[in-house]
Amino acid sequence: MINYEAILLTIITASTPLLLAAIGELVVERSGVLNLGLEGMMVMGAVAGFAMAQVTGSAWLGVLMAMFAGVAMSLLFAFLTQTLVTNQVATGLSITLLGLGLSGLIGSGFVGMPGVKLESVSIPVLSDLPYVSTLVFGQDPLVYISIILVIGVSYMLKRTRMGLIIRAVGQNHNSAHALGYSVIKVRYACIAFGGMTSGLAGAYLSLVYTPQWIENMTAGRGWIALALVVFSTWLPGRLAAGAYLFGGVWILGLYAQGMGVPIPSQLLSSLPYVATIIALILISTNRRLSVINTPASLGQGFVPDR
């Protein structure tokens, strides 16, 4: 007896936080900024969301607060890397460390409390249909938001003027600057967007996935999301596919274990990273891939000529 619906539902829950965090980081990297602070922004989102929901009793206010906390952390990153032009790698790492420590401090009073859960959507008639019911119409709201975000970002990057500007800034910030675009402002906005979706990803963990707060509850998901962005070669569609692939591999691995298939579980835990290394190899050997989508100014600070 295999319960396909349960498998798919579990895969969606496991993949959504990765997708949420990664879609924001994709925009950030497209604008030429490498923010390694994903984990820190996520964990701050998780604690802020949980705390707000706990105090007010409203999961939605928690989600808002999580987004706010993510943005706040990202603006700190933006101020350091864009205004003060610090090293992006080092700054991103410190944002992660800061987030992990600070969230532990903020959350110390909330450990051991059962949380408020963000309720799943329920549409009359549609949510009662067989097979598709819960899968398509009965998910929690953040799942739909993540899908809307992917479609929106994809459209924005490809079809809108704003997307063109973001890509121009990421490709060659000097040219974009010469054309009269404010590189710093564009990057600030992208980084804030990344902070918002990371906060959402954190809220997903503490309000939907496992409604509780425990220190360090992101448990490395920020790093997987970072790997996903590279894996996707900076394309939103591939990013979504990759997120569900990573989530799927992990959940199917658990199923295989439960059914007694002898797959070393350690190997499965490392698969997302193996996949990323393979993606990196493919990108670097395939000239077309590496030229088309990789933001050429990725990770470089921008100091306008005076």
Binding site: T10, E215, G220, Q257, S265
Partner: protein, 354 residues
């Protein structure tokens, strides 16, 4: 990553330690924690033990603790610092502190050390651990009584003897009630990842397990059990707040009595190096209340707990068959402690390969 964080935290905490080390007339007792006391699991219970010690001997001793200490050179540095600051007794509460503890102990012969879950001793280093498997035998029996599908799901962290021993003990308990009881095991390769542990619980439930138990530290799995209407057991501390309808009981680690006893021994000057592997009889392993079950099941659980506490019942009493069908322990015999500590095989009925 955790390591970096740990270093930063250790540095921060180190400064906190130096502030609290003042009054010289009291015996200073130091604690080194692997995680934060707020983990609601392993470290939380050690900290409860420390608080119990303060409550009992607070007028004679003063406790200090350092949290989030990584199992690396930082451990050695932190233990040394505590010893320098005049701690007379230091509890190091994670397996990986074993060698750092031994090293520092050589430099401070007059300081007493107590290392949890290790196997290296010295004249001034004792080891202590708890027989958690005794509790797992009890919950195995309850699981077999409460399960309708005859299958339980076990979420494992890492396949080390400590965890394997728990799995075997759980299944032996279950089989003492229902000889055909099945156990599915899923490893998540982490002591602590609420999301992954919850995923594993969902997977096990969808595969027919209607009782979930775990050897991981977060409350993720019991929440899933509550949501999906199956039963669950808590780990390390009482988790009933997270699953008021699903939780049957929790195995609770209780270090307080041991900490009080050993501290008293130092105060009396009777402390000697030794190895303690205490279970229910030593009050190191407790069962939380038996809830959400019929009275006869609760009575059986009480009875088993009492029998293990009094020593009338040992979970690893033969005949015990290994997974491949070979006899591991003859009828009426009790598994020797060496085999138990290094256990690397499953008993018959486990649906998993090591």
């Amino acid at each position: 990553m955790r390591k970096f964080f740990g270093v930063a935290a250790a540095l921060l905490m180190a400064s906190a330690v130096s502030v609290s080390a003042m009054a010289d007339d009291k015996l200073k007792v130091g604690f080194i924690y692997i995680g934060p006391p707020g983990d609601h699991g392993w470290t939380y219970q050690h900290d409860q033990g420390r608080i119990a010690l303060e409550g009992k001997l607070g007028n004679l001793v003063e406790t200090v603790f350092v949290e989030n200490v990584p199992e690396s050179q930082d451990a050695e540095r932190t233990i040394t610092r505590l010893a320098r600051q005049g701690a007379g007794l230091i509890f190091t509460t994670s397996f990986g502190y074993m060698e750092p503890t031994i090293k520092v102990a050589e430099k401070f012969p007059e300081v007493k050390f107590e290392h949890a879950t290790g196997y290296m001793q010295a004249d001034n280093v004792s080891t202590y651990s708890a027989r958690f498997y005794e509790g797992r035998y009890v919950i195995g029996q309850i699981a077999a009584k409460m399960s309708k599908t005859g299958t339980a799901g076990y979420i494992g962290s890492f396949p080390i003897p400590e965890v394997v021993r728990g799995i075997n003990s759980f299944l032996l308990g279950a089989q003492s009630v229902n000889p055909d009881f099945k156990l599915k095991v899923v490893w998540v390769n982490s002591w602590f990842d609420p999301g992954k542990e919850a995923d594993a619980a969902k997977v096990l439930i969808s595969q027919g397990a209607d009782v979930i138990t775990q050897h991981t530290d977060s409350t993720g799995p019991v929440q899933v059990a509550e949501e999906q209407g199956v039963y669950a057991f808590g780990q390390a501390s009482d988790m009933s707040a997270f699953a008021p309808n699903a939780l049957l009981t929790s195995i609770v680690n209780n270090w307080g009595d041991y900490y009080i006893e050993r501290t008293q021994a130092v105060l009396d000057g009777t402390w000697e190096s030794g190895d303690t592997f205490g279970g229910m009889s030593a009050n190191m392993v407790n069962m939380a209340d038996f809830i959400n079950m019929p009275a006869d099941v609760a009575a059986m659980a009480e009875e088993t707990t009492a029998a293990i506490t009094s020593g009338d019942l040992h979970p690893f009493t033969g005949p015990i068959y290994k997974q491949d069908g070979s006899l591991a322990v003859g009828a009426g015999e009790i598994l020797d402690i060496g085999t138990m500590l290094g256990m690397n095989w499953y008993v018959k009925g486990v649906d998993d390969q090591l």
